[in-house]
Symmetry: C2
Subunit: 406 residues, 2 copies
């Protein structure tokens, strides 16, 4: 309500220009003027300041062949300014270095089975992997971690039914992969997968997006007008435990007939007549179905029906514009789209309008990692001047929020 | 992104002060200074302008007994500045005059059965009722209409399964109850019931609210951080058609096993062994259950179980802070809370956290009417200077958005 101060305006301008470059890619300075509504001299000074902070680079002015002065091209400095994305899944973990601007420099699987080996061993393994990965990366501006469980932004894990973890403070447990003084963020894998797809994937520009994650467990998350819908406690989107079959099969969560008992990985294996610890997992059944194995085909067809059934219910509740199927469900959709869409149509209230677009994830296994890194970038972009280049002397009284790792 | 102009700031100040008075009731001028962060002289000039616009009244300065100068009390002018709220339900319609600040001056039932008599007769009946109701109300600032169907803000009705209406342009059909030049707004009854409860009822201050409407049909709506979650096409919240019983009983929407087939009014009557056109409706069954009629008790117990089952699913999807049961479901909750909560607990993923508060509506039958009027008030409050007092000369070039009716 009060008139914004000069400091607030300056920060807002830095933030707006950096966000445009982070989300929209390299741009001519003249285009930044148009996109922000700021005048030329303000854009010039904002870009200068971002450049001094080491967050953007400018290439020489080039003429685009039209009249008028040539305009310099400005770009987020994704080579030097990076975030770490971590994903802790049920039987695997992954870590990535992602540059400002969204380029995934490198991602590697960590040699660990979190559900079997527990939180401490998992943390150590991720920490060791991070040392190698961060070699020569002096400017880590933040760490985002996606967890396959019900975790809030501060890293308090209430429960992860498939991980078998509960009541953990992941923020303190994640020290092994946290460079000192670097801000850390946590989120549920589906919520961060949704954010990844919204910022960098097939969900880009969708005003009303629902993302479905599928691995050992089934999760979901909605993003409305760019805002992640996390719920009162951060535990929205537990669609895997939406009961679709009252009194049905027992679920790992303690309830019965959850959607996960019909479309989760164990269900896929069970329906195909395989043991639930089968190494091939859902991918193996999908491959067998492609080769025409009758039991596998029947199993995937059944899963496709239940997938459409649940999506129809979600559509009735939230009226999404785009529904993104992640994990192996993207393959189920690709192969059996007709079954999925017929079941959605049967369940969805007839609106006389187009049903939501049901699409396969484009980021695939990287979705949650990319989304996790976005949490760290958001923090930087909210106040770009908070960061300092390594080696530069901080003015007394300002805190150093960036430091090189290892 | 650009620096806000003086005009924008003035409008924002008028808007902020008027919203405080509309939502928070009468306040001392000194308290407005604290609440807005504006300085005394700005508040003085803002209140003066709102007073000139006829939107607020000031009472004489009174001392509150403490030191310092006495401060005038400012109040929204709810006696003179009113909105019309209309509700078109399946077998009834209702109209109300509601003052700025939220006071329901008068609400009356309209003699019409919309489903049986159709849209044209319904519109005429509401129009006739409005003439009487608006006698001596010169300043109607807008009309909000709640419809028991899938309608967007502009009044395009896609379908109302229980009304039996579809593909209608309600905006042009509603001329009989629209004073000329007055802005009109439309919404689904559940979405507006949620807004009513959020602004004026038991949902006040809930950051994550889910409202369940129950009459002939079952509807729902979510409000997150004060924002109505309407979905991509404005059709979110169709929880009555969430399928809870795949392959179950046929529903009016064409699907099978919808939640409405288990907790809707027809279901209540069916389970109690009554005809679905029984005049007593769900209220009659609830009354009989209170008197101990065995069949009625069994019916309501069964409905309570299905109510909890659906709410558990909604909780898994959206993690609400507060769930408000409207219509006769507020009575089901009051009488059979244990069954409802036990079923929610069975379905809800164990989070180790408090489950949402499940509460009965406090606005009751007025919820949707109150919410509908809030749409009109929102429009006024966004730009309070748009309104002109009747009889005042409008400066050339400005449009008259307010006129007395009949």
């Amino acid at each position: 309500m009060t008139t914004p101060s000069t400091t607030d305006l300056r920060r807002a301008n830095l933030s707006a220009v950096l966000r445009l470059l982070h989300e929209g890619g390299p741009q001519r300075r003249a285009d930044l003027t148009d996109a922000t509504g700021l005048n030329r001299s303000t854009v010039l000074s904002v870009v200068d300041e971002l450049s001094t902070l080491g967050l953007v680079t400018e290439t020489e002015a080039v003429s685009d062949g039209t009249r008028g002065r040539p305009s310099a091209v400005v770009e987020a400095n994704g080579d030097d300014v990076v975030a770490i994305g971590v994903e802790i899944a049920v039987d695997r973990a992954r870590i990535a270095v992602i540059g400002l601007g969204g380029n995934v420099h490198r991602s590697i699987d960590v040699e660990v089975n979190p559900a079997q080996q527990g939180p401490a061993t998992t943390a150590t393994a991720i920490g060791e992997a991070s040392i190698d990965l961060l070699q020569g990366r002096p400017r880590v501006i933040g760490v985002g971690t996606a967890v396959h469980g019900m975790v809030d932004r501060q890293g308090r894990l209430a429960t992860g039914p498939n991980l078998g973890w509960s009541s953990l403070d992941l923020a303190s447990g994640s020290r092994p992969w946290q460079p000192d003084h670097v801000p850390t963020f946590f989120g549920n894998d589906a919520a961060l997968g949704a954010l990844g797809e919204y910022r960098r994937g097939v969900g880009h520009a969708s005003d009303q997006l629902f993302y479905l994650s599928a691995e050992r467990g089934i999760g979901g998350a909605a993003i409305t007008s760019g805002v992640s819908q996390l719920g009162a406690n951060g535990f929205a989107g537990e669609v895997g435990h939406m009961v679709v079959n009252r009194g049905g099969r027992e679920c790992s969560c303690g309830s019965r007939g959850c959607w996960e008992t019909e479309i989760g990985e164990s269900a896929v294996l069970r329906k195909a007549g395989r043991r639930t610890n089968n190494q091939g997992g859902a991918a193996g059944v999908l491959a067998a179905a492609l080769e025409g194995e009758a039991k596998a085909v029947a199993a995937i067809r059944d899963v496709a029906g239940w997938l459409g059934f649940g999506l129809g219910n979600i559509a009735n509740l939230t009226d999404p514009q785009t529904v993104i199927c992640g994990g192996y469900l993207s393959d189920v959709l690709d192969g059996y789209r007709q079954i999925v869409e017929a079941e959605i149509a049967a369940v969805r209230v007839p609106t006389g309008l187009a049903t939501p677009a049901i699409v396969a994830s484009t980021l695939g296994a990287d979705a949650a990692l990319v989304g996790a890194a976005e949490l760290a970038f958001d923090h930087l972009i909210d106040d770009p001047a908070q960061t300092r280049q390594p080696g530069r002397q901080d003015p007394p009284g300002e805190r150093d929020t960036t430091r090189g790792a290892a």
